[in-house]
Symmetry: none
Subunit: 110 residues, 2 copies
């Protein structure tokens, strides 16, 4: 079973490390216990929405950026590359091979 | 404060309605109490990762699709540029103030 809290924890830790912050710094700024934040990062505790907002704020990162990254990582885990909710078609950020081939080809062959 | 559970609830309800399913049907398939699912949809209760997985399964929708949509809606609420090209906005696309300040400063002050 793919667990959302595991990905949330991974993303929070990755963002923290990317910003070269310690658990203690983030916990202090977010006013959460260090041990609790550590458990959240390891996917062992569910963080409430209020705590997620505080931690995102402590990381100077929009909560939307964190949740988008969580969604992308879950998609990789699930092997999904299409937004099946269907409200916003996801466009892959790689170009289709045939399109690339077209522009690699000499003009005369297009 | 932007709350993740509010957006999760909205997306779960929207997906359910899109699939023309009733609360009772989804609650039954997910083995969760109807009243509880209703509270989750209204953003009044935090759903555990296990319950989110069960509800997503009951909706025949990957949890990644739900969380991606949550991320997009949070981005709109936060006024963060919507990720229309499927990039992975782990890093906000604004530069940190201190970095900007560094490059705004005359060379001698760097």
């Amino acid at each position: 079973m793919v667990l959302v809290r595991q990905e949330i924890g991974d993303v929070l830790r990755d963002v923290r490390l990317q910003k070269a912050m310690t658990l203690r710094q983030v916990a202090g700024r977010a006013s959460v216990a260090l041990g609790y934040l550590s458990e959240v990062e390891r996917g062992q505790k569910e963080a409430s929405s209020e705590i997620l907002a505080s931690v995102a704020d402590a990381l100077d990162t929009p909560i939307s950026a964190i949740m988008r990254e969580v969604g992308e990582r879950l998609a990789v885990l699930e092997g999904v590359d299409v937004d099946v909710v269907g409200m916003r078609p996801l466009v892959p950020d790689t170009l289709p091979d045939d399109l690339v081939a077209q522009f690699d080809a000499p003009l005369a062959l297009r």
